[in-house]
């Protein structure tokens, strides 16, 4: 018995009964092991909680065993070493640099996002083509009601065409999350029906605030998401590596795959939630406020990613950032006080509730163009807007988009730019929800 051997040697000088010393040796070994473990952990830790590392070292060594080491384990150790936001992480470092950007910077980045997303925006951006509108509904709800005592959802009849990007917008408390939760199956409706055109295993959900166990790596989290779905889907069991890597890469987390999730910023957690949603290659993707925690550059990346999914999978996403919805959604649903006020094409909504308007800039004298525009039947108002600039209101988006270039060309003028003015979803939303003086045509 090793304890007895050690005790035999120590018993005489310490004047303790040998058997008592033998009994205490394992206790001392346990304490010593615990103390050494804590000291090594403290040495390797980037930071500790409450008090400086040196103070914890003193506590571990000096405070009565095993209180000191246990106090460190439970109260001093930072379970998930959180790296500084400025830590260089290739691929996402730039995005981090935007973290905490104020509104002004957000506006600038927004413009950058527009500039960098031409392809994705084509036919989508301001007046998205109704590519998915012709598709069969993948989600249909009838009379969906969930009453939380005056708030909730009331008689919602949603119809989401297959293959479209469906933007669900509404103010806080409008019922967006409740609706998406019912579609996801984590809440139930009091009345009404939900018809899904796909099996539940082909549906992925990313909540507004994804949460994961902080002691898992990003790879493990996404792999777990994959395994859970694959276990319900025949034929999806295969080599996990490439699938998980692709999902992480798509979400911009390839370089953080081996990092513990506990050290992630909120934006990275949001990206991880998206990777988890994508790893099972869902037919229907439900994203609740997916851009809420992202910096502007990350927001633009995610919007481009979602826009690129059009036609290959159906995406329903909620957002209170109307510019995001306008940018990528070809279908839009507007919720207010639990009621679906509008559902249809984004362009149709703007056409219906707003008079489309453009700011036309001409390199030469604008007067001939102004006069020519005033003679057009579709032009409801034509006003000079400074040197070389004309504000043109039209009866419809199509009429303006088709008519303005024709008039400019007919006048032989050189067009510098032609930007839509105020004909955005936000204005339409305000008009529709009655919070603006603007009346529908």
């Amino acid at each position: 018995m090793p304890g007895a051997v050690v005790a035999g040697g120590l018993a005489r000088p310490l004047k303790l009964p040998p058997h008592l010393l033998a009994a205490l040796v394992p206790v001392l070994v346990l304490f010593a092991a615990l103390t050494i473990y804590c000291l090594i952990d403290l040495y390797r830790a980037e930071s500790v909680r409450s008090i400086p590392k040196a103070a914890w070292a003193v506590i571990i060594i000096a405070v009565s065993w095993p209180i000191g080491p246990l106090a460190y384990l439970f109260f001093g150790r930072v379970r998930d070493q959180r790296r500084k936001e400025s830590a260089p992480v290739a691929g996402v470092a730039d995005n981090h640099a935007w973290a905490g950007a104020d509104d002004a910077r957000a506006g600038v980045a927004d413009n950058h996002a527009w500039a960098g997303a031409d392809d994705a925006r084509a036919g989508v951006a301001a007046y998205p083509a109704a590519a998915g509108a012709a598709g069969q509904p993948i989600v249909t709800t009838t009379g969906l009601t969930r009453d939380y005592g005056g708030t909730g959802l009331f008689d919602v009849g949603l119809s989401v065409p297959r293959g479209c990007v469906y933007g669900l917008v509404g103010p806080n408390g409008a019922g967006k999350t409740t609706l998406l939760s019912i579609l996801s199956g984590v809440r139930r409706a009091d009345h009404g029906t939900v018809s899904l055109g796909v099996g539940r295993e082909r549906l992925s959900v990313c909540p507004d605030v994804p949460e994961f166990d902080g002691w898992l790596t990003a790879y493990e989290v996404v792999d777990l998401a994959r395994v859970l779905v694959a276990s319900r889907t025949p034929g999806q069991r295969g080599d996990a590596g490439p699938v998980v890597r692709d999902a992480l890469g798509t979400a911009g987390l390839a370089d953080s795959a081996n990092r513990k999730v506990g050290g992630f910023s909120r934006g990275m957690i949001q990206r991880l939630g998206l990777a988890c949603a994508l790893v099972s290659d869902p037919e229907l993707l439900i994203l609740d406020e997916p851009t809420a925690a992202l910096d502007p550059a990350g927001r633009a990346e995610l919007l481009n990613l979602v826009a690129a999914m059009r036609g290959t999978r159906t995406v329903i996403f909620s957002s209170h950032i109307l510019a995001d919805v306008q940018r990528i959604a070809d279908q839009v649903g507007i919720l207010r006080d639990g009621k679906l006020l509008y559902q249809g094409g984004t362009g149709d909504l703007i056409n219906t509730y707003l008079r489309p308007s453009w700011l036309l800039r001409i390199a030469d004298d604008a007067a001939p163009v102004t006069a020519a525009l005033r003679n057009q039947a579709w032009a409801t108002r034509v006003e000079p807007a400074g040197a070389g600039a004309i504000r043109v209101d039209a009866t419809s988006i199509e009429a303006g988009e088709q008519g303005i270039p024709v008039v400019v060309a007919a006048c032989g003028a050189r067009q510098v730019s032609c930007e839509p003015v105020a004909a955005d979803l936000e204005s339409a939303f305000l008009a529709l929800t009655g919070t603006s003086a603007m009346e529908p045509r």
């Binding site: 008592l20 959900v205 790596t217 859970l228």
Partner: protein, 257 residues
């Protein structure tokens, strides 16, 4: 670009294993159970001397310590601190609904709540049993060294009974987590239920059928009780654990996030 290390494939069993070993849970379980196993027989052996020092010379005489007393000291501490520690650790695993994001992640991906409950119950029950066994081995070693030999058969049978009781405690935790959403509430409810059982133990009519009877089996078996005496409690505990798990699955399945 850094190399992605795929690692071992994930599943819900591995998730629970990692929850134990990547957090202080496993360390705390092992350290505290072994510590109590090592220290309690020492207290049992030297309680007269210890009290004499603590009590400023007041002399209290105890009968000579027996091997059963050494184990009893460990068992009584574990039935308090140890059980609470296991409940706390199990509650951390079962209260996944306390976090909306975690609940959504898991619930929208699993086919049945059984998939979530089974590994959580099994891993936590085994962890508790493993810690109890380590502590019992430490107590056995100390008792054997200081007081006297402990019969192996009775000792192992007692450990088996106690481990079944700990599994029952984990099952109670799962049912409590299906009643309340938060971790503190789950721990509180579980502890209240586990405390009520020894009170019911005072009723002689049901005494032999209660799961809490198993908790003291390691001592009683050393004091001459026969293993067959615990068969009713054993059966009730296993059945109650299964029923509690079924209740937990049913209630968690019906719960909204």
């Amino acid at each position: 670009m850094s190399q992605i290390r795929p690692g071992r494939p994930m599943n819900l069993w591995r998730l629970e294993w990692l929850r134990l070993i990547r957090t202080p849970r496993a360390l705390a379980l092992g350290a505290i159970f072994i510590f109590l196993g090592l220290i309690e027989p020492v207290f049992a052996k030297y309680q007269s001397q210890i009290l004499r020092h603590v009590g400023n010379g007041v002399r209290i005489s105890f009968p000579p310590a027996t091997p059963a007393a050494g184990i009893s000291s460990y068992v009584s501490e574990i039935n308090g601190i140890g059980v609470i520690l296991i409940v706390v650790i199990a509650a951390g695993a079962f209260t996944f609904d306390a976090h909306h994001g975690v609940a959504t992640f898991l619930r929208t991906r699993v086919g049945s709540i059984w998939q979530l409950v089974t590994p959580r119950f099994t891993v936590n029950a085994l962890a508790g049993a493993g810690a109890y066994l380590l502590g019992a081995l430490a107590a056995w070693y100390e008792t054997d060294l200081l007081i006297g030999s402990v019969p192996a058969g009775e000792m192992l049978a007692g450990v088996l009974c106690a481990c079944v009781y700990l599994a029952f405690a984990v099952a109670v935790t799962s049912a409590a987590a299906s009643v309340v959403r938060g971790m503190v509430g789950t721990i509180g409810l579980t502890v209240v239920v586990l405390l009520l059982l020894p009170i019911a133990d005072t009723l002689h009519a049901v005494q032999d059928w209660l799961p809490s009877t198993l908790a003291s089996a390691p001592v009683d078996l050393l004091n001459g009780a026969h293993l067959s005496h615990y068969l009713p409690a054993f059966g009730v505990t296993v059945a109650a654990s299964a029923a509690l798990l079924a209740v937990a699955v049913a209630r968690l399945g019906a719960r909204e996030v």
